[in-house]
């Protein structure tokens, strides 16, 4: 037999044998650190409580609220339509199923925003898309949406518009009577449209 053939045969066996020892590519690094850092510095990853309230009131079909608090906290109180994925269970199949729903805007909520933010970093690293953090969390939700504070007399008009919106939202979420003149609720429709220009203050 030709010596060339033996040489080529040996080479192919060695090379293909080498393939067996190539390490598997790990897929836990689905988003590399540089990209993750870039995503982290984008302020658009936060949604204000007003924005979330507006989305809930408008029954935004693309909104998916995920409550990352513990289950007993979740049972006590949560936002309408939220699903519970406790922070510790973010790597389970159940969490994967929920986080990988496509074409929805996933909003993470927790007591403050810090736990939701931590969950956000991990979820982002795992490669999930369209995830946001509700800035201020439920503590801020209470102080802005449920118990809005009337702005000072000297505040700009936008503050008052925001306050009006929050009063309406508060009524929506608690089913409470609005202490001001009735008809406020009808007006709410108008203020809601304008909401885009309103300064989203708060936490």
């Amino acid at each position: 037999m030709n010596r060339n053939y033996l040489l080529l045969t040996a080479l192919l066996i060695i090379l293909s044998g080498g393939l067996l020892f190539l390490p598997e590519k790990s897929d836990i690094n689905r988003e590399n650190p540089e990209d993750l850092m870039w995503d982290i510095v984008q302020p658009t990853r936060y949604l204000s409580t007003d924005k979330v309230a507006k989305m809930i009131i408008e029954k935004d079909p693309l909104l998916l609220l995920i409550d990352v608090r513990e289950d007993y906290e979740f049972e006590e109180f949560t936002l309408p339509g939220a699903v519970n994925v406790p922070f510790d269970s973010i790597l389970t199949d159940y969490a994967d199923e929920i986080l990988s729903i496509e074409d929805v805007n996933t909003v993470l909520i927790s007591n403050d925003d810090i736990r939701a933010d931590q969950a956000w970093v991990i979820a982002k690293r795992l490669g999930y898309k369209n995830i946001y953090v509700m800035k201020g969390g439920l503590n801020c939700w209470i102080t802005t949406i449920i118990q809005p504070v009337e702005p000072a007399e000297t505040s700009p008009i936008t503050e008052f518009e925001l306050y009006k919106f929050r009063l309406g939202a508060s009524a929506y979420f608690t089913g409470a009577e609005i202490p001001e003149e009735s008809g406020e609720k009808k007006k709410l429709n108008v203020t809601r449209r304008k909401k885009e220009t309103v300064v989203e203050g708060g936490c």
Binding site: N2, L7, P33, R125, V149, S170, F173, P179
Partner: protein, 212 residues
């Protein structure tokens, strides 16, 4: 049989080209510049590690020079930094944190046993960069609880923050269900709704552990 197949010269040429390509390729493998050292599961655990955080009252020791193994890094932008920052802090805005020079500097500091404390406006602001550093294996990077805003508020009496909890995040400050049920009454008395916080605080006596 074709003469090409038996031509030893051609075989050798083809063979060497083939081998050269593979060798070039193998030698040119440069793994990703930055690699996560922690798995996602370990990252979740990391959040609860006490030693990853710097409490505001511990700043006193750092600023007072009692602990001199800590370097302060301000991750806010230049403008905010110029308007005020913790004394001795240097300004590296968040997006530059993963630059080649900053990474190699961090590696050096880690080797020298120095700690790096990063802070932003709030704990939230610096949380992402801190988590990335930690996941990259820089376990000498710590995060200032409360951030600059809290510091600015208390900078004259940092020691007093030991008895304060304004910088602690993550626990409910209201009894949500209760508040939501009774929200019809706008009585503005948030104070009554405030839940007693269940805080596990570090003992004051412990100076910042320098062993990082």
């Amino acid at each position: 049989m074709h003469i090409h197949e038996l031509n030893p010269k051609k075989t050798i040429i083809a063979l060497s080209v083939f081998i050269v390509v593979i060798v070039i390729g193998l030698s040119s493998i440069s793994g990703p510049r930055l690699e996560y050292k922690l798995s996602p599961a370990e990252t979740i655990e990391l959040i609860t590690w006490e030693e990853g955080y710097v409490y505001p009252y511990e700043l006193e020791d750092i600023l007072g020079g009692v602990v001199d193994t800590v370097i302060l890094i301000d991750i806010r932008n230049n403008f905010d930094f110029s308007r005020g920052h913790i004394p001795g802090a240097e300004n590296i805005s968040a997006i530059e944190l993963l630059n080649e020079e900053n990474i190699s500097r961090l590696k050096k500091l880690k080797k020298e046993g120095m700690c790096v404390m990063i802070y932003g406006d709030s704990q939230l602001h610096a949380n992402g960069p801190w988590m990335i550093y930690r996941q990259l294996g820089f376990n000498n990077v710590k995060l200032l609880l409360g951030g600059y805003d809290y510091y600015a508020q208390w900078k004259d009496n940092l020691a007093d923050t030991y008895a304060e909890d304004g910088y602690l995040l993550g626990m409910p400050r209201h009894d949500y269900a209760d508040v939501a049920a009774n929200a019809g009454i706008f009585d503005e008395d948030d104070g009554d709704n405030k839940k007693p916080l269940n805080i596990t605080r570090r003992k004051k006596t412990t100076v910042v552990e320098g062993g990082c």
